[in-house]
């Protein structure tokens, strides 16, 4: 295996020490292929039969069985955390993290006692399996047949390992219509020629291969169907090359949709993969169909409701306008108004949720600092359209956190003295001249810590149709997959933060029940419901999409009559570390014990008894 072969050099030790942990490395964990992961899951279950259940989750188009690990003593009766990893199939470290987390949860009673864990270590096993085959190439598509070039054949023109080094890299060819030039001072890297500077392109770039089907194109129909991490329903990109026919068109993603919506106890989702909300909280700024800060009321609607249509309103203002027009007992809320006005779906994180995302991110950075991690890495990516993490937040309405566990270290730069904006722009241009910053970092990492194995030097090759070419370039996965020797230290550093995350889950409790006699057998009952957790129940997105199951307060007592209030009271929202008061007026002719029961799938159960009458 390519990533196994990489030995830990002295330099590597230094890097790990610098970037991660001041502890010695013991390389025990290795990247495991889908079959080996399934075997480990089964072993985990056999070793802990009372704590671990294994669900047959789905079978991929490539015929691979997906297993979901359930850990916990209490099943669906307590809140659950759903952990999904490696939906792109391109993140081996994510799968190892999920497996390591499973072991940690099994051996930690504080984690498996009051919570249930659903852990899916490989969201896209078909694509992931490619990591273990040679030649090495990467593609997030699952095993579904897909005709990329819509010609008369499918998967007929994949990559070819022309130089026989077991790695699919790239080919560069001198051509009149070339658009690429080598980077000055680092001719291994390529950059776009800048016509404004009078530059002409020299090279054309291809991926390594021949024109297998003789259609004039190279590697245009490689095996690989749908990227599961693009196949979820939020911001699904229709007719995208790897997005699938429709959201949930694949067994892998469909199983997840079905699973999540049949487990309303899922209170938090954690995704291991390509993004890291702990370092880079989700970003807003996407243009939605309608700006909820400036809503125009349609003329006819305005006329019938008596609303001035010449100006715009915020969503809160519309709620205020509409509330008095509703029949008694009906409450206008954001969701109702947004749906009534056809405002469409939410595409940016709710502002109230950004508060916890930013606070937790600061806390996490503080945590890393305390662990002695100061070195900078490249910024994690933002989630892809149709990804698991986007769907989980926008459609389940629960807090979602993501971790990628490793990123390329930022190459050291000479410090420049305070620059004006103009100078900054010049610097950006100059950086582009140096090549793509990610490629620069990737090459630096390969040179310094991988003995150059992350990059195949350009070497000339006689290509059957392109003639004289050079083959070389980056090793697939070398941008996001550190050598196996680093896995343990990376996980030991970052997985211990997961318990910190789940500690923040909302926990609802009945703080106090108070009764006041009003005379004539009439009592006022007051109950304080407190959220003992940091996160609000539900989060703002859950309030908007109304997917999280409501928490219900039930008042029980024989022979009582409820004069005011309801027997079953839905609890709308309780902010983190906040309390909300509920009041009933009841009549009881004789002495009675009242039970107040609080039930929430996501935020726990509680009950309190009180006596009235007599």
């Amino acid at each position: 295996m390519f990533f196994t072969r990489l030995s830990v050099t002295g330099g590597m030790m230094l890097l790990v020490a610098l970037l991660l942990l001041p502890e010695p490395i013991s390389a025990t964990r290795k990247y495991s292929d889908p079959a080996a992961v399934n075997r480990s899951i089964e072993q985990l279950r056999q070793a802990n039969p009372s704590l671990v259940k294994v669900h047959k989750f789905a079978v991929t188009p490539g015929g691979r069985e997906m297993l979901m690990i359930e850990i916990g003593k209490s099943g669906t009766s307590v809140p659950a955390v759903l952990v999904g990893a490696n939906f792109s199939g391109l993140t081996p470290l994510a799968t190892e993290a999920a497996m390591s987390l499973a072991s940690r949860v099994v051996s930690d009673a504080s984690l498996n006692g009051k919570l249930t864990w659903y852990i899916l270590p490989i969201g896209n096993p078909d694509a992931y399996a490619r990591f273990f085959t040679r030649p090495l190439w990467s593609d997030p598509g699952n095993g579904r047949l897909f005709n990329d070039d819509t010609d008369d054949q499918t998967d007929e023109d994949g990559y070819n390992d022309l130089d026989g080094n077991g790695i699919i890299t790239r080919m560069r060819v001198k051509a009149h219509d070339g658009t690429w030039v080598p980077v000055e001072g680092e001719p291994r890297l390529m950059r776009k020629a800048d016509a404004a500077k009078g530059e002409r392109g020299i090279y054309k770039l291809y991926t390594e291969g021949i024109d297998d089907d003789g259609d004039g194109q190279y590697n245009e129909d490689v095996p690989g169907g749908t990227n599961i991490n693009n196949n979820f329903p939020h911001l699904f990109k229709k007719f995208g090359r790897r997005s699938g026919l429709y959201p949930g068109s694949e067994p892998e993603s469909e199983a997840m949709l079905r699973f999540a919506f049949s487990h309303p106890e899922i209170a938090m989702v954690i995704a291991f993969g390509q993004t890291n909300y702990l370092l880079s909280p989700p970003k807003g700024g996407r243009k939605g169909s309608i700006d909820t800060g400036s809503i125009r009321i349609p003329r006819e609607m305005g006329a019938s409701l008596g609303i001035d249509v010449s100006r715009t309103y915020t969503l809160a203002e519309v709620i205020e306008l509409v509330q008095p027009m509703l029949p008694p007992g009906m409450t206008a809320d954001e969701s109702m108004i947004a749906s009534f006005l056809g405002l469409g779906e939410v595409v940016n994180p709710m502002p109230d949720d950004m508060i916890f995302y930013n606070e937790i991110s600061s806390d996490y950075k503080e945590y890393l600092k305390k662990k002695g991690i100061t070195a900078e890495r490249l910024d994690p990516a933002q989630p892809e359209e149709g990804s698991f993490e986007l769907w989980a937040y926008y459609h389940l309405g629960v807090p979602v956190f993501t971790i990628d566990f490793w990123g390329l270290p930022k190459p050291k730069e000479e410090k420049k003295e305070n620059q004006g904006d103009e100078k900054k722009n010049d610097t950006v241009k100059a950086d582009q001249q140096k090549g793509d910053p990610k490629e620069v970092a990737q090459l630096a990492f390969s040179d310094k810590w991988l003995d150059g194995r992350g990059f195949t030097p350009w070497k000339s090759y006689k290509h059957p149709t392109l003639g004289e070419v050079e083959i070389g370039g980056f090793t697939p996965f070398s941008d996001n997959t550190p050598p196996e020797s680093m896995i343990d230290s990376l996980l030991d550093l970052q997985l211990p933060y997961i318990p910190e995350l789940v500690k923040r889950l909302p926990r609802l409790a009945i703080a106090e029940v108070k009764t006041t006699e009003k005379g004539g057998g009439v009592y006022q009952l007051e109950a304080w419901v407190t959220n003992e957790g940091y996160l609000s129940f539900p989060i703002a997105m859950g309030k908007r999409n109304k997917v999280p199951a409501p928490a219900i307060l039930t008042l029980e007592g024989d022979g009582i009559e409820i004069l005011s209030g309801k027997k079953r009271t839905p609890i709308g929202e309780v902010g983190g570390m906040k309390s909300v008061k509920y009041v009933w007026l009841v009549r009881s002719p004789k002495k009675e014990t009242l039970t107040l029961r609080l039930e929430s799938k996501q935020a726990g159960n509680d009950s309190k008894m009180t006596n009235i009458g007599g």
Binding site: N147, T150, D151, D152, D213, G214, D215, G216, P233, K238, F239, L245, Y246, P247, G248, S249, E254, L257, F261, S289, G329, S335, A338, S339, G342, L343, G344, E345, Y394, H395, R544, N545, K546, V547, A549, P550, I552, K566, K567, R568, P570, E599
Partner: protein, 580 residues
Amino acid sequence: MERKRVFMLLAMMALAVMLIRAQEVKVPLRFDFYYSYEKMVEAMKALNTAYPEFTKLDEVGRSEEGRIIWALTINNPKTGDPFSKPGVYVDGNIHGNEIQAGEVCLYLANRLLTNYGKITEITDVVDRNVFYIIPVVNVDGRAHFFSDANTASTNRSLRIPMDDDRDGLFDEDGPDDLDGDGNISTMRIRDTLGRLRSDPADKRLMITVKPGEKGEWTLLGQEGIDNDGDGLINEDGEGYVDGNRNWGMNWKPNYAQRGAGNYPFEGKGIRAIAEWMLARPNIILVFAFHNNGGMYLRGPTSKEAGELPQEDVAVYDYLGEHMEKIVPGYRYLISWKDLYPTYGDFTDFTDKIIGSYSLVGELFQPATETYDGTLKRVEEERSRSGDPSAGDRQRLLFDDNVNQGELYKEWTAFKHPVYGDIEIGGWTKMSSRLPHPFMLQDLVHRNASSVIFAARQTPRVTMDVFEVKKIGGDLWSVRVRLVNSGAIPSVTYETIRNKLYPVDKLTVTGRNAKVASGGVLTNAWMNQVNYKEYRPEVQMCQVPGMGKVEYQFLISGRGDIEIRYESRKAGSVSKTVTLK
């Protein structure tokens, strides 16, 4: 004594069985009554039994409550297997209450099968196409519409329980048939401070009080009680996932559009039908029947979905302009613009993912329920007469004297557990969106005729090798013309735009021949050809409706060459010519 009673009971039961037998469904089918779900299945089986060689009955899938969704495939095996012909898919009743849509589908099947070999147009349309017919999509909805008390509009959704009022309970407070007449009607209470009073011209109607007038009534909504004791009546009824908002194209979540469901294809039957259709790539024409408005709708179903390519619009316009004449009073409209936008709509899915021309038929026209039988549109009647109740007045007159009052329930006193003395009355479930059975025959025939009209326009591609010319040495010029005599192209333009699937293929093969070059002949007179640089022996193509496409191949060699056209949706055709 006891024994005698048991005997009597048995005798009555035997008589009942005999009566049911007597009503057994027979081919040709009758269309003067509405088929329950069970009867509908029986009717499909009867057609299948009567025409075993032409029909196939498939279990497409099962619903939430386990009912089978049946599809009837009509294909003449003597003219080829199903995939060698254009597929015409017709369904109905995706909304459980819209039952006559099922009858349209059933009538179409009955019409095609019982008249094959008798009427030339029908024989031809059956020989050239394969028909896929699913009369009832929402099988649970249809079953409950018949068996339960309903309004004309309830029981629309799939049987996926939803907590509409967010109290942690599911579907716990729907309407109740308080008077036990099988209908959910309207409740009203006497209220001198109410906003309504009885219409002096017809006491059954209520009109809004004018300032200074005394009120008489307050409306209390649909018949029902507060089943869950939460102070609200009928606030969490059956469902609500709308089968026609749950398809995986331009789908939006439930908070953006009520009825969407938690995710696309959450509905078991909906997913099963999608998969069944995807397994039939030859489907080029889709009809989905609904029940209200008197319209044929084309996509797009939302503005965001983007306008269809103009060439596709032209095809729809041609079909629509004829179809709206086939059914008097119908209007051919654009779904999002003329009706309202929908997301996750069935026809958006079939337009874009199945690659078919897709139309929705909204069957019922209230304007046809007139005393004198002429079409009277409610809005026109209102503005003409200045009487806001003009529409209801017309319908009551119609019901009184044409249906003998069958569809309207007189206001009747009732003792309500919460409201006390109230009245229950109004239009019944078999009214308002359903034609009286005496008008059903006309409705189903005309709509089936629209489907048959459109099915006659499916692509019919022929090949003409119109030039085989030696141009020196062993090099030949061969010109091929593909002609489509149907109005519907062999591939929709939307499909081409989205690169949905590999389009049609024209290939040239010969044992002793090599295609040196080939491409679209854009101008035969001026000899202009768009040559394809690589693999000229394979041309990916489309044949436009009522149109042609021409190719020129330069072939070196001799002997027989086969020119073959293959299409997902328009079958295949081939010719062999000899280079000599």
